[in-house]
Symmetry: C2
Subunit: 239 residues, 2 copies
């Protein structure tokens, strides 16, 4: 892997893990020293991160860590809902291939199995998050609309916008499991709609599905102190 990609990933992880304070100045030289590279790859990474919306350039061209309002995060989740809803509708209207059908069913089965235990182990939780990402990615890939995939990819660069970023992580595990059971039931129903070719229903489910993420976001903001321990990136969100 090229140094440029390495620096980009490192920098992205540092920002998303709340290593820098929002609004903090990101100087090329200082970052280069910290990451053990020269300014060239750091500069390339900063250009990319600006496109991704994680850093912004002020009027004099200096880069700052972006600060997000709670409103922006919930808005990004809403956008993901609409885009995934569109993807679901396209898949439903275009038909579910045998292959996709099998892959989705595997996700559903794995989710059923993982959520069977109560309380959930941390391993089950992590595995569910991975499965959840796979499930959402499957539908997005199956819709075949590259522009749509690009839009989701961009949106998912924002903190807490991706599907699994806002899975319940705080509070009592028992309560989290209830939410996850609800969300997973939605997965089942979405697959049902896809199989039946019910485009409008699939789209509506895709949109509604993100309301779970919205709930969790609100919860995380109410319990900000605790949330920041589990999700350091929460430091980037104000209000």
């Amino acid at each position: 892997m090229s140094l440029q990609e390495t620096v980009l990933m490192q920098l992205r992880d540092l920002i998303l893990s709340g290593e820098f304070a929002p609004g903090q100045r990101l100087a090329e030289q200082q970052l280069a020293e910290r990451l053990g590279a020269s300014r060239t790859p750091v500069r390339a990474a900063l250009v990319t991160l600006e496109q991704e919306g994680l850093v912004e350039a002020n009027d004099t061209g200096k880069y700052l860590v972006r600060q997000f309002t709670a409103r922006e995060v919930t808005d990004a989740i809403a956008v993901r809902g609409h885009l995934e809803g569109m993807a679901a509708r396209l898949v439903a209207e275009h038909g579910v291939s045998r292959q996709l059908q099998g892959d989705l069913q595997a996700c559903l089965d794995e989710g059923d199995r993982l959520l069977a235990d109560s309380p959930l182990t941390i391993e089950s939780y992590v595995a569910y998050a991975a499965m959840n990402d796979r499930f959402h990615a499957l539908i997005l890939a199956a819709c075949g609309n590259r522009a749509l995939q690009r839009a989701v990819a961009l949106n998912d660069k924002l903190p807490f916008a991706p599907a699994s970023a806002m899975l319940p992580m705080q509070g009592t595990v028992a309560l989290d499991r209830d939410w996850m059971l609800y969300a997973h039931r939605q997965h089942h129903m979405l697959c049902d709609a896809l199989r039946r070719g019910e485009g409008a229903r699939a789209q509506a489910l895709g949109v509604e599905h993100t309301e779970v993420a919205q709930m969790n976001m609100r919860l995380a903001l109410e319990r900000r102190a605790e949330s920041e321990r589990f999700m350091p990136g929460m430091r980037l969100v104000v209000g």
Copy 2:
């Protein structure tokens, strides 16, 4: 303006105007000489253009001019439809401010005036395209969802995805005027839906509105030879 931004814009214009053949190799040095700059600003521009989807890096890291299938263009237009539909719904549900109401009405009035003449002059055509962009931008700005605005901005970087890129430009002017009258009537109806707070209707109109662009894209592809004279960027589209 910095040399970096200048080079970026020049390069983007060169690509979008079909100056390079799709799939053509874009070498940093060669571009630097052509644009009268050094490799540094050219590299920054190429990184940005890759994010925008206008160039792509092959496995060895060399940059190539991106080639678009007709499917990709129509898909991008469909994505814009969904995103603008979402914006329209948000505006309708959140209420139209006095200021927005006035700005939109100004657009409608200007459109009415510009389309009154038959046949259309080329000046009227250009003025309508500018008004059309303003109209779409007004609604997008008014929805207040930054993530949504970002998604539209990214999508609009693709050739022929932006609202005014696919206004009728070819064929008989009289026929074009009919399509523009239809699209402008939709603008009127959309404003009506916004004022009444009819979110679902506004969203549906936003989506349906892009079908005009879809029609024009199909027409442009059928008359490829003529289209390329008016819209050189059509060279980037295959199939």
